[in-house]
Symmetry: C2
Subunit: 198 residues, 2 copies
DNA sequence: TATAAAAATACAAATAAAGTAACATATCTT
DNA sequence: AAGATATGTTACTTTATTTGTATTTTTATA
């Protein structure tokens, strides 16, 4: 049994599905389309996946798993906490980590579905991990003690959204300046560095 | 008969369809979806359009008509030709004018269709107008006499594509610098200004 | 309150997508 | 090269979605 080729086809399907689902959501993409794009026959598809839902589930799980791996390897580095948060922000800005709006729409459109609960459980797990890391960092004095950690995460997401708001973009000559401004705001607030709130 | 409301619904359908077709192409978008998004019942839809194809046709025609209007009003301004070309380039860079890849895929996927011929005839017409304008400008000495005008238009399009190539982007600290470099290259080539080719 | 436009509902007809079966071909292993 | 296994092709049935229309109800307005 040629194990490599098996993997190749399987991976091709997964990758193609990821790209298409990313752009168009799940609903608008057909199994045949995925097969064509991946250069795989329909029979081969059904040998690896029992249906589109199954495929979507694996795509989602791989996505979260990759996301988690990336996060973990960043956090395990021996660099200052602030540097880690900065890099996370930057990764989000660059869209590498961003989650597809169309995919989310499809999944949140049917809260009773299996996909919804898979998505939710994986997402919740990551949030939990991040929360724990941040609480730990807070204990160690790497971030302000008087801040609600949940709120920090919330603001971190908002912050990224602002970067894609045309109104905000209009205020800066280029994207880079806007991103810098947002990041600085997120880290240091609006107060000059030498004034310390009690 | 409240003529304004008629127009409102009609315009809403057209605008919604434009946005959806832009994002997903025509194939992936259903009439019901357009109706829902536009806040219009299916019956109302069929009062204004006979089917999805008809809708797509009107969307495309409006798009080209708007494009032409924008181009015309730019060219009719009393500013140097170089300035006009610069502004056109910039508009393209900013994506205002850019044509949707998904839409083009759907339309060019079926060269026998009515939509294809509508698209082609409108596109050809615009190209013809632009060509004429450039030839006129060449006669008046606003651009180099020894250049093939068709080739200038071709390069103008290529030029815009380069701005979205990650490999090119990697060579510059930000988008703005890249765009400036491309624009300068397009206008003046690589030679220093005081050296004139015979 | 009479009237016209639009919405809601329900549905038959058409089209598209999903999924399967039988057989053909390519590719790897030994 | 032989046999096994993965993949492809074609054709087909079933299921789901979309289209387009007819009928009734609601809404706005003049």
């Amino acid at each position: 049994m040629p194990a490599q080729i098996q993997n190749e086809k399987y991976e091709a399907i997964l990758q193609t599905a990821h790209d298409l689902f990313w752009k168009f959501g799940i609903r608008r993409v057909t199994v045949e389309e995925v097969c064509k794009e991946a250069g795989v026959s329909k029979m081969t598809f059904y040998r690896y996946f029992s249906n589109k839902n199954d495929l979507a589930k694996e795509v989602i799980e791989k996505m979260f798993s990759d996301m988690y791996t990336g996060y973990r390897s960043l956090m395990d580095q021996d660099i200052p906490f602030e540097e880690k948060v900065k890099q996370q922000l930057m990764m989000k800005f660059e869209g590498t980590n961003e989650i597809s709006a169309e995919l989310v729409k499809d999944i949140y459109g049917d809260p009773g579905s299996e996909l919804f609960s898979v998505w939710k459980s994986r997402a919740d797990k990551i949030v939990q991990v991040v929360l724990d890391d941040y609480k730990e960092a807070q204990k160690k004095g790497w971030i302000r003690q008087d801040l609600n950690v949940e709120f920090i995460l919330y603001m971190s997401n908002k912050t990224v959204q602002i970067a894609s708001d045309p109104q905000a973009q209009a205020m800066y000559p280029d994207m880079q300046s806007l991103i810098m401004e947002i990041a600085n705001m997120f880290f240091y607030g609006i107060m000059p560095r030498n004034i310390v709130t009690k």
